[in-house]
């Protein structure tokens, strides 16, 4: 019991408050960037603390918060996503005048995500998910003057609230069955008390929780909000939802299933496996039909949730390890892709349409290469990080005698090649005769940095996969510690 162990959360909370205070302070000239800089500094500091804390589990608040390898590694994913989001929104013209609030909201969402993955109790888990959701409702609608942004916020609010309601139902039932809200306690009761596993209420609780988290992770059939919200929300926010929220939701999946209800895995392996299959199929087929790159990326994020869910469905530590590795890869490639979309959006009206990318790779080769690497990695082409991740996930499925998941995943990936490559082709094909030259503006350095860093990570994480995999293995083992 040591409240100081939760230092990362305190720092994040303090920085969030500080940024909100700065938001109401009149800042002039060069000081206008101060909130963003403070936010980034806070993220870097938190990342440093997370590295320093790496090791055996420490608990705070009577086990409500667990600081262990799992929480810390997932924190890294979240911090990367948050930092990238702030960079992607750098100088965003649409958010002018509200940039400090934007940064503050990203930070509070990130805090919620961290609380989620560090939670040792259903209550903290719930609070974490709510904190991140509420911040994101506002972020979606942050461009108050744009109708689509408002619509996106409302849509996310409504579906998100339904998800929350279902989640709390599920938690209540789970508490009813086991008599405790502590994750470790639930695991222990399920293992030791006879007859608990046969309770129909347990199945109901699991089903409700799967549905609710399915909403957050945008798994089919709870995905309908995703394309609209992604398209309407400011693009950096869409990038944040695609990466940070996904990571937090997957973290919650792992904590609740691979961790807490491991004993009942017979009840949920088939269920989550089926969810993964439907998600992969519908997500990939849906993406085929899109001619808007942002919408395509939204559908692709649904499909990717399907691959990620394989790691939960198998119910093994190998699955969790693969999932965490894939999350890193997924965050890198998604951020790189979104960064290039943002670049294009700032240069032309309707920059998220597929046609806006025609010839862009030739006009701006480094952005073209970054986008190409990101999309090829999303499609699972070797030797990129997305391939290594899929290889691990499929391997964990085959190993857990669920080869059908791997086969569906393989076929779905083959389909996905079509829509990812459609963008690649457009980028590298020549402009139609007589079309005006591709319009290029001065590149905002932070956005370019995210694109390049993401692309480098996509290659680097594949070639030096072993060190990260060692960390992931440690994180996965922390899931089942008593």
């Amino acid at each position: 019991m040591n409240a100081g162990a939760a230092l990362t959360l305190y720092v994040m909370a303090a920085v969030t408050v500080l940024v909100f205070v700065l938001a109401v302070t009149p800042l002039r000239g060069r000081m206008r960037r101060l909130p963003e800089l403070v936010g980034l500094a806070g993220l870097v500091a938190t990342a440093g603390i997370a590295v320093a804390q790496w090791g055996e589990r420490q608990v705070a608040f009577a086990g409500e918060v667990r600081i262990d390898r799992f929480g810390l590694l997932m924190t890294w994913v979240i911090l990367i996503a948050a930092a990238a989001t702030i960079l992607l929104a750098w100088g965003e013209p649409a958010a002018a005048g509200r940039r400090p609030e934007f940064t503050g909201l990203v930070l509070s969402a990130a805090t919620g995500m961290m609380l989620t993955v560090m939670s040792g109790d259903l209550i903290t888990l719930f609070i974490g998910i709510e904190l991140l959701s509420v911040a994101l409702y506002i972020l979606c609608a942050v461009e108050v003057a744009r109708e689509r942004s408002l619509e996106s916020g409302i849509k996310y609010l409504i579906t998100g609230s339904i998800g929350t309601a279902i989640l709390i139902y599920g938690f209540a039932l789970l508490y009813g069955v086991t008599g405790t809200t502590s994750l470790a306690g639930i695991a222990e009761r399920l293992g030791s008390v006879d007859g608990l596993l046969d309770q129909p209420l347990l199945v109901a609780a699991i089903a409700l929780i799967v549905v609710a988290l399915g909403f957050k992770a945008s798994a089919v059939p709870f995905h309908m909000w995703t394309p609209d919200v992604y398209q309407g929300a400011p693009t950096p926010v869409a990038a944040f939802m695609g990466t940070g929220t996904k990571a937090a939701a997957m973290g919650a999946f792992l904590l609740l299933f691979t961790g807490a209800t491991q004993q009942a895995s017979g009840d949920w392996r088939g269920l989550i496996g089926a969810l993964a299959v439907v998600t992969m199929v519908v997500g990939n087929v849906g993406a085929l039909l899109q001619d808007n790159v942002k919408r395509m990326l939204a559908w692709s994020s649904i499909a990717q949730a399907g691959y990620l869910l394989i790691g939960v469905a198998v119910g093994t530590l190998a699955g969790a390890e693969s999932l965490i590795y894939y999350l890193f890869a997924y965050v890198a490639m998604t951020l790189a892709a979104f960064a290039v979309v943002i670049l294009r959006e700032r240069e032309v009206e309707d920059g998220d349409r597929l046609s806006a990318f025609t010839g862009y790779g030739r006009a701006r080769p480094w952005a073209g290469v970054a986008m190409t690497l990101a999309l090829l990695s999303l499609a699972g082409f070797p030797p990129l990080a997305g391939f290594v991740g899929k290889f691990l996930l499929f391997g964990s499925a085959v190993d857990a005698d669920m080869a059908w998941l791997a086969i569906v995943g393989a076929v779905a990936s083959a389909v996905s090649v079509v829509y990812y490559l459609r963008v690649v082709i457009a980028m590298w094909s020549p402009q139609a005769d007589g079309a005006p030259a591709v319009r290029r503006l001065k590149v905002p350095t932070p956005v370019a940095a995210v694109a390049v860093a993401g692309a480098v990570a996509v290659v680097g994480l594949a070639i030096w996969a072993q060190p990260l995999l060692d960390l992931c293995a440690g994180a996965a083992r922390a899931l089942i510690l008593p």
């Binding site: 391939f387 290889f391 391997g395 791997a406 086969i407 076929v411 083959a414 090649v417 590298w428 996969a465």
Partner: protein, 506 residues
């Protein structure tokens, strides 16, 4: 020195450098691409010189752990099956680069050459990979450059052609990935170690049912890449829409990836499963031989004719491998090299004809021998080789295959023989209708199509290679014998073939 790795890395590095060049800097791009391809060729010759022809196993292995936790490594080397394919790759790509440099329009520039180099690196990696995951990595790796080459610089239907090419290949190869994962994990159950090294997996007994299923997973990927009838849907579109230099590379080198995989991975790793698949695969190969020949006979353009003939010839090679006979397998390996050279030469002739006359449509040309006698002689030589006339290089390979097939299944040899007859029909049709008869479709009796120095630099080396193999096939077989015998032996043992047919005893 790790010569095998160096051979792969030279084109890889060159491709990165080429992509970084400004689009307008074509002079430097040409110089760089030519230098890189010659260096790659030289490096592969060093590998050949260092090759020990008495060894059956992979040699000159460069091993580096990549992801040890899942048993994946950078593991490249050569054996008797791959050594000539490596040489074929570097030689054909050198000639292809020369051809590409001769006609490098502004919109192609360095990126075009860079993608060719990238494809070469992928193919060289594929032919030398000793680790199944690495094999898969290169299998996919080469797809992207080829697809981009078709997409960006192909004919009118390049989008559709490229997309079909990619989707066909991906469907097969992702299922192969699942099969690879399953192979590794099942082998781990048996041996206790997770390894994807082909040489480690060779010793594992999977049992007949499992081996059949796993082999089928690999076979689908191979069948699409080869392509085996009825998985050839991508071939006519890709071959006819790609820039012709790229078609040369696709037909001469990439088409060997599938058959190579079958002999190098399929047979040795899953010998127990081969027996169940001999009949289905052989029948598909036979259908491919006849069907491809008939299509070639009726093909409207020269390019499609050579493309379909390639379908038939690869049917021969598949047949030679799948009947698990030493002599037939020997012939198949030889024929992989032969076909690569002959089809490259045939497409090169098509390229020169199309360039000189402005059309690839056979029926609009005629009597070119009058104005272009040198090209006619070269073309006649290539035609003879392509229809496997006795005394040509392809004759040796096809003879080996047919003799081996006859020993095992006489009726198959009889049907395959029809393919040889039909080859004469379609190849002579192409030669006659363009070279002989009244002059048609060209001015000046077709002098514009005459072979000049820049054409000779591509065709003459290919013809010399054909002559060399025709006169002295033993110089190749010497190298391939030990590895080929070892590759088919496990399947022969599993099928309980007579002992005197088996070249290697375990």
């Amino acid at each position: 020195m790790p010569w095998v790795s160096i051979t792969i890395l030279i084109p890889l590095v060159a491709s990165v450098l080429l992509m970084l060049l400004p689009a307008a800097d074509r002079a430097r791009a040409r110089a760089l691409a030519l230098l890189a391809s010659v260096l790659t060729l030289a490096s592969s010759v060093v590998v050949l010189v260092l090759f020990d022809r008495n060894l059956a196993a992979l040699q000159q292995v460069d091993h580096l752990d990549w992801i040890p936790a899942i048993g994946v490594s950078w593991d490249v080397g050569v054996d008797g099956i791959s050594i000539w394919l490596v040489l074929l790759t570097t030689a054909i790509f050198t000639l292809g680069t020369i051809a590409a440099c001769q006609h490098l329009p502004e919109q192609r520039g360095p990126v075009f050459l860079g993608l060719i180099m990238l494809a070469q690196a992928g193919l060289l990696g594929l032919f030398t990979a000793g680790d199944l995951v690495l094999f898969y990595v290169f299998w996919e790796f080469m797809l992207i450059p080829f697809a981009l080459l078709i997409w960006n610089w192909g004919g009118a239907d390049r989008r559709g052609a490229g997309m079909i090419f990619v989707v066909y290949t991906m469907v097969g190869s992702l299922l192969m990935l699942v099969a690879i994962v399953a192979t590794g994990l099942l082998a781990m159950d048996a041996t206790g170690d997770l390894s994807f090294l082909i040489r480690d997996l060779q010793g594992v007994a999977f049992g007949e049912a499992t081996a059949t299923v796993l082999l089928a997973g690999f076979l689908l990927a191979f069948a699409i890449k080869i392509p085996l009838w009825p998985f050839h849907g991508w071939l006519p579109r890709a071959y006819s829409q790609a820039p012709i230099v790229v078609t040369i590379l696709l037909a001469a080198v990439m088409s060997k990836a599938g058959v190579y995989g079958l002999l190098r991975v399929g047979l040795p790793v899953f010998p127990e499963g081969v027996g169940n698949l001999i009949m289905p695969v052989a029948i598909l190969a036979l259908i491919g031989i006849i069907y491809g020949s008939l299509l070639a006979w009726r093909a409207p353009t020269m390019r499609l004719l050579v493309g379909y003939s390639s379908l038939a010839h690869l049917g021969f090679i598949v047949l030679g491998i799948i009947v698990i006979d030493r002599m037939a397998a020997q012939g198949a390996v030889l024929q992989m090299v032969n076909h690569g050279i002959v089809v490259a030469a045939a497409f090169a002739v098509v390229m020169m004809l199309a360039r000189g006359t402005g059309t690839e449509d056979m029926d609009r040309l005629g009597g070119l021998a009058k104005g272009a006698p040198r090209l006619a002689v070269a073309f006649l030589f290539v035609t003879m080789a392509a229809l496997a006339l006795p005394g040509s290089n392809a004759f040796v390979g096809e003879f080996f295959i047919l003799a081996g097939v006859f020993n095992q299944y006489a009726w198959m040899a009889v049907i395959a023989m029809l393919g040889v007859v039909l080859a004469a029909v379609y190849m002579l049709r192409m030669y006659q209708s363009t070279m002989n008869g009244p002059v048609r479709g060209v001015r000046d009796d077709g002098r514009g199509a005459e072979m000049r120095a820049r054409d000779a630099i591509i065709l003459v080396p290919l013809i010399l290679m054909m002559l060399w193999i025709a006169v002295w096939p033993g110089s190749l077989v010497d190298y391939t014998q030990a590895s080929t015998d070892a590759a088919v032996a496990p399947a022969q043992i599993a099928e309980a073939r007579p002992v005197e047919q088996i070249g290697v005893t375990r």
